[in-house]
């Protein structure tokens, strides 16, 4: 039967060829206007000028192993500097026979982090508990030794990546709770506590970390009686924690402000005390809201650990810097800094990607 109307839908006509597929995409995203085309071409030309020679230098012409600088191809990168000193960059001056302990520390860290970060694995609370309570203790014990026949390794023998990670780990673990307390204090209804917390936060946020480290390294020993001696590494840690907890407090405060008053009031009407309502109701919500901010503070902390160089501790950057002074390896600055930069970047970029993923969920 025929009808005046088409019974079937006429399929939509395909878009014109030049707005489809690769070509269409390029037209829209690269060559939309003459000006856009100019920008695209300029950037492409710039990349062409930079990338192939860099690839040639960094990979094709590079030397990967060798005893000293003269073993390296002059045209290419001298990664031999990094490979020859890799152990030192990772373990510092840690005794060679004991490096398995550092590896154990890395493994613990990787295990707990992996557990926390991979959504498929259950038992996040357990992992969090392990990370917050067990990990710091076991790590410190394993690294410094002195029990079960493990020889003591003094902190001045620690160095390289492990010091960076130790500083970052303990800095993070300590600055988060202190930051939470300060944030609660700054929003407290008690004027003295509020003033005190505000002053503390503003004081540390107002000065550069380098002066804080200087203070921790040079002046802290003057502040306490002679009998109390702090380890240099611990002093640096105290400085970093004092500094970063102030930043952490501001992040957490942002989260607390976003939680409606009604939540706390509801708790009160249920007869919960201040700490109960905060710990069980308000803080969990607030912290969840500001996880990206917390991770950003962690990233800043991780990068800031490199500043311990100025007080003479050997973190990753500092030990690379020291390696560059070796007469055998003069002129390897670019390779050294690229390597250290890449390692730092890997950690920080990883953390920022993780926080972005959390933000999306």
């Amino acid at each position: 039967m025929k009808s005046a109307m088409e019974q079937k839908m006429i399929p939509a006509r395909e878009p014109p060829v030049n707005s489809r597929g690769v070509l269409g995409w390029m037209r829209e995203h690269l060559f939309a206007t003459p000006f856009q085309s100019l920008i695209t071409l300029t950037i492409a030309y710039g990349l062409y000028l930079i990338l192939p020679p860099f690839w040639q230098w960094a990979v094709m012409d590079a030397t990967w192993t060798g005893e000293n600088r003269s073993a390296c191809n002059v045209e290419g990168a001298c990664w031999a500097f990094v490979t020859a000193r890799l152990d030192q960059f990772i373990y510092g001056f840690y005794p060679e026979s004991e490096t398995w302990r550092v590896n154990l520390f890395f493994a613990q860290l990787a295990l707990v982090l992996g557990w926390l970060m991979i959504p498929a694995i259950p038992g996040k609370k357990l992992a969090l508990g392990l990370g917050l309570l067990v990990l710091p203790v076991t790590s410190w014990l394993v690294l410094s030794g002195g029990f079960f026949g493990l020889p003591v390794v003094e902190t001045h023998q620690w160095g390289g990546l492990m010091v960076t990670l130790v500083l970052a780990l303990y800095g993070m673990l300590a600055s988060l709770p202190i930051g939470v307390l300060l944030a609660l204090g700054r929003r407290s209804s008690m004027p003295v506590i509020r003033t005190f917390c505000t002053a503390y936060i503003e004081l540390w946020r107002g000065v550069p970390l380098i002066t804080v480290l200087f203070m921790a390294s040079v002046m802290l020993p003057l502040f306490v009686p002679e009998e109390i001696v702090f380890d240099k590494l611990v002093r640096a840690m105290i400085g970093i924690v004092m500094f970063q907890s102030a930043y952490m407090a501001e992040v957490v405060r942002g989260g607390l402000q976003a939680i409606p008053r009604g939540q706390a009031e509801a708790c009160q009407s249920l007869g919960m005390g201040y700490w109960q309502s905060m710990l069980l109701v308000v803080l969990p919500q607030a912290v969840r809201l500001v996880i990206p901010g917390i991770v950003n503070t962690f990233i800043a902390l991780f990068k800031d650990t490199s500043l311990v160089l100025v007080i003479g501790l050997f973190d990753l950057l500092s030990i690379v810097q020291a390696g560059l002074n070796d007469p055998e390896w003069l002129g390897s600055a670019v390779e050294g800094y690229l390597f250290a930069g890449f390692v730092f970047w890997l950690f920080c970029f990883g953390m920022s990607k993780y926080s972005q993923r959390l933000e999306k969920n």
Partner: protein, 393 residues
């Protein structure tokens, strides 16, 4: 439950008001005890070890040289003067850093949102690389790996035989001001003020009539250009340039940008700009899409949409975090000490501390400076914020 039956203390403890007072008194006592303990320890430690105290050292003569001084300074000046020299150098590099980081940051932030795929990818690669690498490492990279391999002064790269680039820095020509030129400069300043007044007047005029003052642009340009030129002609001003030249070991004359300053400036700019770019991006994204569409529907070109509609609104979101970035930049400039740029931390908390040995006083003064800067800027920004949000209504 009958409260009266319980002992007095328990009742007080159960009363929130009293409990709050109790906690606060406790905190005050704890803080006072802590501070007292620290001060007591410090004083007894200092006395026991025979370390001199007090601020007398500020008037003693310093006896060491500083490579870059914005005020008159030589070895015979006092330690107090080194404080000023260091402070000014800190302010100089912070100022340069803030200006350039703002420009680069805004460009990158806008580029990040560009519809051009290549441009936005480039911007995001830039952002992700530079904000995830420690600043100190970047400073080292620029100083040792890039500027450190430039040629010696005798083999300098030169441009028109007037600009020289070598491992000791960049030497640039610098104008010598004769009395005529000084007059021109003052006239120029006066003209700029006049133009500002005109702009204000024009705004009022446009508010009242809906039209700008006729030929306003031409009038403004001629004020700024013609009047100073006439002054220069009348006062017989001659502009002379001091061209840097190789004398003895080094280039002398002209303006020298030290490699330490350059490395610190680059690193601060590039690092901070990556953060500013993110601030700008989130600021722009916070502007309602409808605003853009409405502006486009009115026939505004994309660039005008950005500059007239989007950015002014985004600024309200951008300003507070932007301020934070500026403060971070100022504080980060203290990393100068790692490459020997003579900033406050390097000169005062470094050399002066070491020559006098008075750590407590020197560190306290240094921290006080940064704290003052930070608090002042925060106060100013809060005022600005209040001003902006009033405009909103």
């Amino acid at each position: 439950m009958d409260n009266k039956r319980q002992p007095m203390l328990v009742r007080l403890w159960r009363d929130p008001v009293w409990r709050a007072i109790f906690f606060q008194v406790l905190l005050i006592l704890a803080v006072v005890a802590m501070v007292g303990w620290v001060v007591n320890n410090t004083l007894s430690n200092l006395e026991q070890r025979g370390i001199s105290t007090g601020f007398d050292f500020l008037s003693q003569s310093a006896g060491f040289g500083i490579i870059q001084t914005l005020v008159e300074y030589d070895e015979s000046h006092s330690f107090g003067r080194t404080f000023l020299v260091g402070l000014l150098n800190t302010l100089l590099v912070s100022f340069l850093g803030v200006i350039f980081a703002t420009v680069l940051g805004f460009l990158m932030g806008v580029a990040r949102l560009s519809s051009n795929w290549m441009l936005s990818k480039l911007a995001s690669v830039y952002i992700e690389i530079f904000r995830n690498i420690p600043l100190l490492l970047q400073i080292f990279f620029w100083y040792f790996a890039v500027l450190g391999i430039l040629p010696s002064p005798r083999q300098s790269f030169s441009l028109f035989d007037a600009i020289f680039l070598n491992v000791r820095g960049i030497s640039l020509p610098w104008p010598i001001l004769d009395s005529g030129m000084v007059m021109v400069a003052w006239t120029l300043l006066a003209c700029c003020v006049a133009v500002l007044v005109l702009i204000f007047f024009n705004k009022q005029h446009r508010k009242n009539t809906g039209r700008p003052v006729p030929y306003i642009k031409a009038i403004m340009v001629s004020i700024v250009v013609l009047i100073p030129m006439m002054t220069g002609f009348l006062a017989d001003a001659r502009l002379q340039w001091e061209i840097p030249a190789l004398r003895g070991f080094n280039f002398s004359g002209g303006l020298v940008v030290l490699p330490e300053l350059a490395a610190l400036w680059f690193a601060l700019t590039i690092y901070t700009a990556a953060f500013i770019a993110e601030v700008v991006r989130s600021g722009i994204e916070s502007v309602n899409k409808g605003q853009k569409e409405a502006a486009a529907a009115l026939g505004l070109k994309p660039r005008r949409v950005l500059s007239l509609v989007v950015i002014p609104q985004a600024m309200r979101v951008i300003i507070p975090p932007l301020t934070n970035q500026y403060l971070n930049l100022i504080k980060n400039s203290s990393l100068a000490t790692a490459i020997g740029y003579p900033d406050l931390v390097s000169v005062f908390a470094g050399t002066t501390l070491n020559q006098t040995g008075q750590a407590v006083e020197v560190i306290a003064m240094t921290m006080a400076v940064y704290l003052t800067i930070s608090l002042t800027v925060s106060v100013l920004m809060n005022l600005y914020n209040r001003w902006v949000s009033l405009v909103e209504r």
